[in-house]
Symmetry: C2
């Protein structure tokens, strides 16, 4: 079945396959799915290339191979023997004239070598360790008779607690067992059965991180490049990933960069093209250990659909597998400052999650966008049946605050499912993200600022008010500036008197406009403050208004916001129209009542 455009053959049609197909449709890329007839992927991808059956069935895989140009997987638990055979020996198919049979080699991306190695989690990490990748200490546990001694050795080597993990076939944290003390050693076989096991040193991590990486190579297997997506924080409950936060909370830039470098190193050491997830532990001392790799799109990369829309993990998977992704065209920059992904897990009842979806369809504030992804799967308790991604224009902490009603509902559904009492996640009251920050060197400046605050209220501008002295609290001021540079704020208003350094120092720290209000101090009538604020050196501008004139500072802030939001530009026009009307009315009155009477009325007030 030769088609002009290359066809991707996909083993497995679950949610990852579904989202891959959803990305492929608009790009005109054809996908042939091997899975059951009603699987999530096929609902979104209807063509005559499908193979109905199990992605574990070698004959079906061969049939799929005859219909495509490259094979890929949405799950690593596949038969790599058959993938190797198809890639190296070929699959038998009729010649175009139908008279003979020929062998067609169909490559697999990522390579069957990568998949095979990753299937054994113990071997995977041994391999990484040999390649200089930081991983937790581990040792293989013997099977059968040797197991007991082997467990004792692990206990002796790592102390308690330590982890026991199944080497094969486990995902979503299944097959992990924490050995808290000698008494747990007796229950190992009961808990874990006879499967191949390995022991891992207990890693008291601060946070779990994940980085998706795009890898391409040429047809001879020479690496072309690896590129990382932004790092995310992953949160697991009941051993299942439930939340992903971009960016990770309170992680220094240096650590994030290092996580990306480690992730790229890991993936560079593998074989084949595609996207890969690298899950990592961030320890308290800042050390990063690689936990495991998934050779495919991953739950921790769902956020890229909306946060990196120009190249989501699914688009990247399609393009990289087809080797249609030149290095110059790989732009994995997030297009929003923050994003949070929440998995929708099936609840106690089939419709338990409906309220979560309904809640997601409601607006939170004008800055928060919430996207629902349902997978077309029947709901079963604990099953991943969809996810919700929210994107924000401010910090991830603020976004988490905005999403707290959703998180609370997730908690309720989980509590009902696992039959536990509800532990409430603290639900912060939803605040509109500020557009203007007003700050002053001392609270004695507050009276002068009140008029400006009233103007912002009048124009419906959300703002926050802070006290940050340049001289008494220089570090606090710097911290405030760093916060502002990353916040939703578009303008800072800063007031100071005397040797007025606050506005200029803030301007040095942020990239947004700073409006300075000189405050009249005890001497010099405010001229000292004015000159201290307005005469900034070349390179760092400070927009200065008249002495004590917070009204004009606020009005200037509104004019600046008007550049980004037409609603403020319109309100400003209306304000100016009203000023004109007022003055004209006064002119009318002075003409009609005469200046003496007008003056008398003024003096009465």
């Amino acid at each position: 079945m030769p088609t002009k455009k290359p066809v991707i053959g996909l083993l497995g049609g679950g949610q990852l396959g579904r989202m891959l197909c959803q990305a492929a449709g608009p790009l005109g890329i054809q996908v042939a799915v091997l899975d059951t007839e009603d699987c999530p992927a096929k609902q979104a991808n209807h063509n005559d290339l499908h193979v109905t059956g199990s992605f574990k069935d070698p004959e079906k895989i061969k049939l799929l191979a005859t219909r495509c140009d490259v094979l890929t997987v949405e799950i690593e638990h596949v038969d790599t023997e058959i993938l190797e055979e198809i890639a190296t020996r070929g699959v038998e198919m009729p010649t175009p004239d139908g008279k003979y049979k020929m062998l067609k080699k169909v490559p697999c991306h990522p390579s069957w070598k990568t998949i095979r190695m990753i299937q054994d989690k113990y071997q995977q990490k041994e391999y990484f360790a040999r390649n200089g990748i930081p991983v937790a200490d581990q040792m293989a546990i013997e099977s059968g008779k040797g197991r007991s001694d082997s467990l004792d050795e692990a206990a002796w080597k790592y102390g308690f607690p330590f982890m026991l993990k199944g080497s094969k076939g486990s995902y979503d944290g299944r097959g992990n067992f924490k050995v808290n003390g000698p008494e747990d050693l007796k229950n190992v076989t009961e808990q874990m059965g006879d499967q191949p096991l390995y022991a891992e040193k207990w890693v008291p991590f601060e946070m779990e991180l994940s980085v998706m990486v795009v890898r391409t190579e040429d047809d001879r297997g020479n690496l072309k490049y690896v590129h990382p997506y932004p790092v995310v924080e992953t949160i697991h409950e009941d051993s299942i990933c439930t939340k992903v936060l971009y960016p990770p909370r309170n992680v220094p830039e240096e650590v994030k960069k290092r996580a990306q470098t480690v992730a790229c190193d890991v993936i560079a050491s593998l074989w084949g093209r595609g996207v890969f997830a690298v899950e990592m532990f961030l320890l308290h001392d800042g050390q990063i250990l690689v936990n495991e790799v998934a050779p495919r799109p991953h739950n921790s990369g769902h956020f890229t659909i909306e946060a990196v829309p120009q190249m989501s993990q699914y688009k990247a998977q399609l393009y990289s597998i087809l080797d249609r992704l030149p290095e110059k065209s790989v732009n994995l920059t997030a297009r929003v400052p923050s994003a949070i992904m929440l998995n929708i897990l099936g609840g106690a009842q089939k419709e338990s999650h409906d309220k979560l979806v309904e809640l997601a369809e409601r607006e939170y504030d004008v800055w928060t966008d919430v996207y629902v992804h349902l997978y077309g799967k029947e709901s079963k308790p604990g099953r991943k049946i969809g996810h919700i991604t929210a994107t924000g224009q401010g910090s991830v902490e603020r976004l988490a605050e905005m999403m707290s009603p959703l998180i609370k509902t997730m908690d309720e559904i989980r509590a009902e499912r696992i039959g536990s009492k509800l532990v409430h996640t603290p639900t912060a009251h939803v605040k509109v993200a500020p557009l203007v920050a007003i700050t002053m060197g001392s609270d004695s400046d507050l009276p002068s600022l009140a008029a400006g605050m009233k103007i912002l209220d009048e124009f419906h501008v959300p703002y926050e008010v802070r006290i940050t002295s340049a001289h008494r609290t220089p570090h606090h001021m710097m911290k405030f500036a760093a916060e502002m540079a990353k916040s939703t704020c578009k303008v800072i208003i800063a007031a100071a008197g005397g040797a007025a350094h606050l506005p200029g120092m803030l301007a040095s720290e942020v990239h947004i406009p700073v409006i300075g209000i000189p405050i009249k101090a005890s001497v010099l009538d405010g001229v000292d403050s004015l000159h201290s604020i307005v005469q900034m050196p070349r390179g760092i501008p400070c927009a200065t208004v008249g002495i004590g004139n917070s009204t004009n500072a606020a009005l200037l802030a509104v004019r600046i916001l008007g550049a980004a939001y037409p609603e403020y530009a319109e309100r400003m026009k209306q304000y100016q129209e009203n000023m004109k009307t007022e003055v004209l009315a006064k002119d009318d009155r002075i003409q009609s009542v005469g200046w003496e009477s007008y003056l008398k009325d003024m003096q009465k007030k």
Copy 2:
């Protein structure tokens, strides 16, 4: 076939239906499509609710109705009699026990009344005119024997040229004929056949605009609300829309607002729920005339998929039809400052458009994201087989510049298709509209301003430079201010010395931020200018920078632009980073060479 969740029945499965299904999938909304088996929509939406057949076949429509809870259309050329019957009388279907037949009423959204009225373009505009909507003058042309007299009447009434249009069944500008003079009147029947016609006064428009509107009503037909998307500029070639620009180029805010108001008025006068396109002409005098309405998602709304991702026209169609869109949750704000949609029309060869798609997959700059949408249709010359949307973080003019390689390729494909010589469309080389205006009271201020101009060049900010003295040319200055208030300019920089009135007077006339640069005059060292500029009365702010410091004025302008365009915010961060690096390098040097040698080097320069 009762399903728990409501099912939408869709007449027609072309590209609009396809994109509707692509939006429905992740939201868990089920769509039953009536169209041929291999239509674009079914490729992306595989379920057992489909009805294979023609959406013009009443029996198939009835079958579709038995499978869904609400009917909708992707094209207005449908049989409204049958839709009326199904909505008011009902469609026969077996009772759940299969023993009897019952009548099930299935509403159609938008209402069959709306669709019926819109099908006749002449009646449509007559209706709008009766409702106070501005439309071009028109008259019906009689058929048969009366046609000739009727045409003469139109020529007498409107003069030449005037337009002849088919009332029914036309779209994409088909069925339009421009009558340039008496000689064309002879060819009318040859060109237009016997179809019902109407004549329309020639409207020499400046630009075509379009506004998508969301409309909902309760089940008794009471309007709940209408909400507009942002206005776009549409460009037609060969009577087919080829490009859509958001925002429209050089259109004042006031006009855009008026276009949205007119569009909402039009749609409020109709019946049913859904999204609607209102196509309009913007005349040279600023007048807006409604051209026609499409009661469905529309080509001019494709840009919303990426530019209004939280509520694309397809999501809005799904949610509004199901009445799941509470007013508070309708946020139709664009999430990017600019977007351009280009239709991919089939070229002379089946694969003519491949190069366009390839080009779209290449990166242009880090700010431009390009999205390909192919419809899964066979390519035929001139057929809409896909579209490309680009989003930018700067002005639409800049984005058009970035996309010029794509636009050039579109032009080449078109030239080959229509067998003409290549004529570049004007969008390929548009002038970039200024974002900043720099003005001065006298050309003697120019030397002080040069440094600021260089900064704007460095930051790639488009600007214009003017001379407008407050005292020597007060009227010219006022005219300039009025111009600026309506232009694309977001910031004015004004320099003046002595009794420096220019910045303040401009600030009084415009609603955008004015940055004042005090220029040092012959006496008082510039303090006179500084005080004249900074000490504005309450109500009219002027952002003042240091004396003669045009560098800071320009940098402040860039910071202000950063509020609207992330690209400038990013450049500002980079600029500050570079400043830091420079100073640190100097510090390194002074430490390594010693201050004496450092000073000597400085004195040499």
